[in-house]
Symmetry: C2
Subunit: 351 residues, 2 copies
């Protein structure tokens, strides 16, 4: 990130530009003004305010987690949030899923020339709001502007670093035969909320994205029985089906899901039926799948349910030692169906 | 980042697709195949190979640097490098400019549907080559694909973390009156190489981008006389003029540049004259500006010149205590000219 000084006079009244200009990405005066008036006003904190090429952070311990994700969701605004919330929660959640405590976030913006300053402000507000809610700081960033037609309004890439307050090693590869599989609530809400907004159905369906930071929920699980949490993953793109398939492969185990135990809102089922989608493959942005030791499952489930983000938590299946890498669904009518990864493109630009 | 398993069978021969498909970003089978066949083959290392939501790294000490930049350069390929080199060196250099030793890099890719697989492979090769040259690991990443016309081939956002092997605090805010200002070589090469490629002039001009990792050069300076290195910055977007203006403002000092001391290649001067550009405002991707204590300047200059990236290093000016925030140029004919920040957009999409 380039450094910026705020003490300088501001000869060009940038407020007069209701749209992002190519010159706002040029590295010069206009970019500095945009940064001062919009970005630093939104995210100001000591590390960011130093305005150096990198944020310098004190760092408490000997292990860190590091992740990145790009966000290209369409539409930018949907019931329950916008691209700014997603960009923070997605990265926070990736850190939480390896058992790390999210500490700091970077934000890289690619703006299309002509993007509305007002919409930009809403996205930046969302980034700040989401960071506050997740308890992380946005400490460094970058902005590029490309000519009209060379991007779609705004793309955001966040990276995050997290620290460890414990000695546990949690991943998607630790599931063990006998583990029970917990989910913290109904699946498919995010994907359906975005699809409904895209199709102009949002008022009829009332489905709201579940996008939320999961680090608090993970902290609860680890505090209750960290040793019993064998695997964690958040079922985003590709949905619960694809994520469980990944856990099965990485852990070298089989997984059996019970269809009747899968929490799916009636409205989500309705839109899925309408659009020909399977909720098992629909993206979530505030859900986690935990493979936990059966002896601790009741306590962990209770702990999830005691948290605002886990009130509708459920046991949805179990881990087996047969057919490693295979996921199967016990259907409501008693049959068994193989669950495969999403083969192609179900819902483009869902996050 | 989503996790990926390589042991799985690959029923769809992805090699048959010479272009990136929307489905390659869908989170499912095709995305996993793209990751396995292209990304992991390019960047494989233990942290990346774990394929978890975040990379988990051992971390040696109590202070870290964290930075991000997005890259939207046009054209993607130019004399001396491509967008992949830029994406690694830019982030490595931002870490080096605060005196940190770059440790790990994340890569977020936004691909346009239809982008050539062959060009993607060249960019990924460049990312790996640049990471190897800089001595950093690419440990985590993410890929999104947007429909044709919604992005321009490929955008890359890298983030980086760096560690400290010393107790120095180096930024752009530490310049002191009396300091001499060093640059490690001729200015403007990157911007002119990209502009020439864009205008189809590259064969005539033979200007090659200076893009390079500066962490080795910074390590040399710190080893020689770390305490004497008061401020470091790399003059990228906005060029030497804008960067010196930032140093002057952040440090609360004046800066005087000597025009006759500024190293500028004849070819760069020629293209600048042709296109109406001032090399002082043209981007560099392998240059640093160092404000150093005068007593150590000779030794530091010699150390720069002994390094392959500093053979043409020069003293280009000095820091004063008059008119804080002001940068002035002593012209060849003996006049004084105020140097301002780049006001608008000189060279869009230069990095």
């Amino acid at each position: 990130m380039n450094s910026i000084n705020f003490a300088a006079a501001c000869p060009i009244p940038i407020q007069q530009y209701p749209h992002v200009l190519l010159a706002h990405g040029g590295g010069g005066k206009l970019m500095h003004q945009l940064l001062r008036q919009v970005f630093f006003a939104a995210f100001g904190n000591p590390a960011l305010d130093t305005q150096h090429d990198s944020a310098v952070l004190d760092f408490p311990s000997g292990r860190l987690a590091f992740t990145t994700d790009s966000y290209v969701v369409d539409p930018l605004f949907f019931p329950g949030g916008n691209i700014g919330h997603l960009a923070v929660y997605g990265t926070v959640n990736d850190l939480a899923m390896v058992g790390a405590r999210p500490l700091a976030i970077s934000v890289g913006l690619i703006l299309e020339e002509g993007f509305s300053r007002q919409e930009l402000a809403r996205v930046l507000d969302a980034l700040r709001e989401a960071a506050d809610r997740a308890g992380v700081k946005i400490v460094t960033g970058d902005t590029k502007v490309v000519p009209r037609g060379k991007a779609d309004r705004i793309f955001i890439t966040t990276a995050g670093i997290g620290v460890y307050d414990h000695g546990l090693a949690i991943t998607g590869a630790g599931a063990r035969p006998g583990d029970l599989i917990l989910v913290n609530g109904p699946i498919g809400d995010h994907g359906i909320a975005v699809m409904a907004a895209r199709e102009g159905l949002e008022l009829q369906t009332k489905v709201v994205s579940d996008c939320a930071p999961l680090n608090g929920l993970v902290a609860e699980l680890l505090a209750e029985a960290g040793e019993a949490v064998h695997a964690l993953r958040d079922p985003t793109r590709g949905g619960v089906a694809t994520t469980l398939k990944e856990i099965a492969r990485q852990s070298g185990v089989g997984i059996t899901l019970r269809e009747e135990a899968l929490p799916v809102r009636k409205e989500v089922q309705g839109v899925c039926a309408l659009l020909g989608l399977d909720p098992l493959y629909v993206a979530n942005e505030g859900k986690l799948l935990a493979c936990v030791a059966p002896a601790a499952a009741d306590r962990l489930l209770a702990r999830l349910r005691a948290h605002p983000l886990g009130r509708e938590a459920a046991v949805i299946g179990h881990v087996t030692d047969v057919q490693p890498g295979r996921v199967q669904l016990e259907t409501v009518v008693g049959g068994l169906r193989a669950v495969e990864m999403l083969a192609g493109e179900q819902l483009p630009r869902i996050c």
